[in-house]
Symmetry: C2
């Protein structure tokens, strides 16, 4: 078990690593750059983290874990409409990009540098998430809540539609994160509705 | 003036170049690779095209020109509703990605390697296109056709939403290009509608 202090320090290193990967690319970032950014000697940093591969793995696993666990929770909410379920997932995507921009960016772009078997595990987790999300859309169409769209077309249109938030959103923009989120949600949910 | 035969040969070289840039990256493609792909000696190819920079410039200019001229045409159609105008632009984006995938991919990703002054000209053309598209959305909101969304949020949600077609669409998928286009258009237009 990691002590709390060690866990907090490790998460700080992971957060700084995500920022560096986003800024300089995964390939363009060295463990020495990272040590400089977190204010540690490279040798001390290895007490917290073994390698760049391990950092990438931990970031991708954490983000994938958030999506998977939220989907599972939403699937097990029997009273909600399909629109409410899809809305919860769209809001999750936008909020994660606003609140955890660098980590989401790493999970969106740098996952391809994962070594095996983590690469296969990550791709399977993503596929299983996409299938679960598409199933909610399919069930919403079957229940007459949504217009008769191909579930995979609707799914990828939604996932792609929210992606620009990653490139655009910076704290201090004239639009608040809530206004941004509400407009995108309003557009995508009206887009699905029958 | 280029002779017709020379123009056709040159367009063939540009099309092959776009495929190579998409496959191997702009930086990873050499003029020698390209000559091999079009079946010419490198020396003969220089009769048609001066450099990799010139190829990139011609591809980006052509794609930007299509968007700009279509927008101008649509802006000058006084009878149409704003929904019809926006629909025409969304269909243009999807069709260009289906029919001219590699060239659109180059204009979407590799424009950043353009040398100056072409880089600035390309960025200005793109900005002017985005402003014109956002103006149509703003006018549609003002006319009561669209729900009260921030025009720039609606614009980037639409532009981002159609982007996945670039990665997904291959001829021979179980869904036809028309079905794909119609589903995305149905979703995005219902999303805008009041």
């Amino acid at each position: 078990m990691l002590t709390t202090k060690k866990t907090i320090r490790r998460q700080f290193i992971l957060d700084e690593a995500a920022k560096l990967f986003k800024e300089k690319g995964y390939g363009g970032t060295s463990m020495r750059d990272l040590a400089g950014n977190v204010g540690l000697e490279a040798a001390s940093m290895y007490n917290y983290i073994k390698s760049k591969d391990e950092i990438l793995e931990l970031i991708c696993q954490r983000i994938a874990g958030i999506y998977i666990s939220q989907l599972a929770e939403i699937e097990q909410t029997p009273q909600a409409t399909y629109a409410a379920k899809v809305e919860a997932l769209i809001r999750l995507h936008i909020r994660l990009m606003v609140e955890e921009g660098p980590a989401v960016s790493v999970a969106n772009h740098d996952w391809k540098y994962l070594p095996e078997p983590q690469l296969t595990a990550f791709k399977q987790a993503r596929k299983s998430y996409e299938q679960g999300f598409a199933r909610l859309i399919e069930q919403g169409v079957a229940a007459g809540e949504f217009q008769a769209l191909h579930p995979s077309v609707a799914l990828f249109t939604i996932l792609s539609a929210v992606r620009w938030v990653e490139l655009w959103y910076r704290p201090g923009r004239e639009l608040s994160a809530e206004e941004l989120e509400n407009d995108i949600v309003a557009m995508l949910l009206s887009g699905l509705a029958k």
